[in-house]
């Protein structure tokens, strides 16, 4: 009983710590400047959509939104496509080969992005690719592939090996087994992986800052323009932040369901 009580107290404290800043961001985005800077802070105020109007009228922001959308969706799709093929291949190896390959994948995940961002920047400058979308798409796909592989391996491992044996006897070639049996059976996991890749790419700042040009700036880079020499435009900044968070919030809710589904699909014998 007492244990339960402390569990819930702890939970409330934790949730408050995590959710309060988010709450403050969202609430501030609906405030007029005078409410935003009121000391002591006002809890009740007259909400306004001015900040959102201002942000949505801002061409740079809208373009950054489109950039982010295009870059994160396409790089994630590429990463998952490559990752699924690789993960399928790895799960069908014998244990010894497999361990080596998994170690290699893990080493790719451990390596910090900084290691290759600098040489990539150099190449991009020489190729004149700094202002092109494919550069960001390629780099993010590259970063996401190891992650996608490791995650998809766990989903493919849940699929009984005998399905592959049965398909081989039934006359299927390796790619048909992957495409018609493994991929559909791991559908939940594939969707979850895709969404997690999108989430990561959407929020990523460092690579985008280094490798994006004026016309390929993504959202995390773009919103720094609200931090001006004239001061921080809190209203616009928080409105932009709210708009950035919104699609990811929706995806986050989706991915939660998919991951749980993906996990249980494997444990129930099909």
């Amino acid at each position: 009983m007492i244990k339960r009580f402390f569990f819930y107290v702890g939970l409330v404290v934790l949730l408050a710590a995590v959710l309060f800043p988010l709450y403050w961001v969202v609430v501030t985005s609906f405030k007029l400047p005078r409410d935003a800077f009121a000391i002591p802070p006002v809890w009740l105020f007259e909400p306004t959509l001015d900040n959102f109007r201002k942000v949505l009228a801002n061409q740079t922001f809208v373009r950054a939104f489109t950039n982010s959308f295009v870059v994160s969706i396409s790089s994630s799709a590429i990463a998952v496509a490559i990752g699924a093929l690789a993960a399928y291949g790895i799960t069908q190896q014998d244990a010894e080969k497999r361990r080596g390959q998994e170690k290699f994948i893990l080493s790719l995940r451990i390596a910090p992005a900084l290691v290759f961002v600098i040489p990539v920047y150099y190449f991009a400058v020489r190729l004149g690719a700094l202002n092109q979308h494919w550069l960001l798409i390629a780099v993010y796909a590259f970063i996401n592939v190891p992650f996608a592989i490791s995650l998809l391996i766990t989903f493919f491992d849940d699929i009984p090996r005998e399905l592959r044996d049965a398909a081989r006897v039934d006359g299927a070639r390796e790619f048909a087994i992957f495409w018609r049996i493994y991929l559909p059976a791991a559908r939940g996991g594939v969707v979850a992986t895709l969404i997690l890749c999108v989430l990561f790419t959407w929020n990523e700042f460092f690579v985008a800052l280094t490798l994006s040009g004026r016309s390929t700036q993504t959202l995390p880079v773009s919103i720094t323009s609200f931090l001006t020499f004239q001061g921080i435009q809190w209203g616009a900044l928080t409105a932009a932040a709210t708009l950035i968070m919104l699609p990811m919030l929706v995806l986050g809710i989706l991915v939660q369901g998919q991951i749980v589904r993906g996990m249980t699909l494997g444990s129930v014998k099909g």
Binding site: L163, A167, R168, V169, G171, A172, R180, I181
Partner: protein, 359 residues
């Protein structure tokens, strides 16, 4: 011509030989059961036939074609798995049609074949369902349907009934037997269940530790086992084994039971075993009768009585050795002392150390 020839097949994992010089000939239309305890290599052998495992050396010939180096999809075999291995995201119709689809048949031909197979297995009402909506017995029927749809050279069954409950197992076993009699195809069936082996097989291959112990009809295997392992593995209740020594006296073969002064006069020839050879005498339950103690050749005490209805399964203690037999219901009581009449003409003699059959 043999439909399946397995010639000198060897396979080992590291230094452990799982298949040791296996050679089996299977004629067309036969129902061969690979039988053995778990880990004897029977499943490995079946997977090797299917092309799912590579073999170390030797060759496998199916329908006159050497398939040793061919991948599974080119061997023209069909397989039914213990775990059913149905494709979870496909309907029953798609599952059964899958082998045909992989062979590039058109939709209409596939659909007709699926309907034909569904009619044979009486699963027409299930065709649009997903595997997870089916019971275990229904799933295995679908898996058999998937094997049947293609008319392959060889059917392989890997313990197909082991995941089913007892009643269903009996039903499906009978169904598989009827299916074999109807389509007259060559089938290779792996099991550890001797009842399945005895009831289904036209030929049984007994394996132990990767070595073929005996190949024969169910009758031969039961009445004429090649060695002690086979004798012990087959039969329920199990064969009674008595340890002792043979003796040769005046042209008569005697069996002297260990730990007692009982001497049994054997009808077998004295050429069988030398004097004082350590021997094991095996008797099937039906060759041991309970009689009044006075005119018995051997006495025993009743350890346990298990009534099954029409008859009792009685565990006896014969001079320290356990012996399980069947008797009419209510004939014995636990703890009582009984006399035994042995049908020594049917006795099997084995060499003690090697387990080799003498008679």
């Amino acid at each position: 011509m043999a439909q399946l020839s397995i010639r000198d097949v060897r396979k080992s994992y590291g230094s452990v030989a799982v298949l040791n010089d296996i050679s089996i000939e299977v004629e067309e239309g036969a129902f061969v059961v690979l039988l053995g305890p778990s880990g004897c290599g029977k499943s490995t052998l079946l997977h090797a036939i299917a092309g799912l495992h590579e073999i170390g050396s030797g060759s496998i010939v199916i329908g006159g074609r050497d398939v040793t180096d061919l991948p599974a999809r080119e061997r023209d075999v069909a397989m039914v798995f213990q775990s059913y291995a149905l494709y979870p995201t496909m309907s029953v119709r798609e599952n059964i049609g899958f082998p045909l689809k992989m062979r590039g048949l058109d939709k209409k031909a596939i659909s007709e074949s699926v309907d034909r197979v569904a009619a044979i297995l009486q699963i027409e009402p299930l065709l649009e369902r997903r595997p997870r909506e089916l019971s275990g017995g229904q799933r295995q029927r679908v898996a058999i349907g998937r094997a049947l749809v293609r008319d392959p050279k060889l059917f392989l069954f890997d313990e197909p009934l082991s995941n089913l409950d007892a009643a269903l197992r009996g039903d499906l076993r009978a169904e598989i037997k009827r299916l074999h009699q109807r389509i007259k195809r060559t089938m290779v069936y792996v099991t550890h269940d001797q009842i399945e082996a005895m009831t289904l097989a036209t030929k049984i291959v007994i394996l132990n530790r990767g070595v073929v112990q005996q190949i024969g009809t169910p009758q031969e295997i039961y009445f004429n086992p090649a060695n002690l392992f086979v004798a012990r593995f087959i039969g329920s209740p199990p064969i009674t084994l008595l340890e002792g020594k043979t003796a040769n006296r005046n042209g008569e073969l005697l069996f002297k039971l260990s730990n007692s002064d009982v001497e049994l006069s054997m009808p077998q020839s004295t050429n069988l075993a030398g004097d004082e050879t350590e021997t094991i005498l095996g008797l099937r339950p039906e060759n041991i009768q309970i009689v009044r103690e006075g005119n018995a050749s051997l006495s025993a005490t009743v350890d346990l009585v298990e009534p099954t209805g029409p008859e009792d399964i009685v565990t006896l203690n014969v001079q320290g050795a356990p012996s399980v037999i069947r008797t009419a219901a209510g004939m014995t009581t636990q703890g009582s002392s009984v006399g035994l009449e042995l049908d020594l003409g049917k006795a099997l003699l084995f060499e003690s150390g090697s387990g080799t059959r003498l008679s």
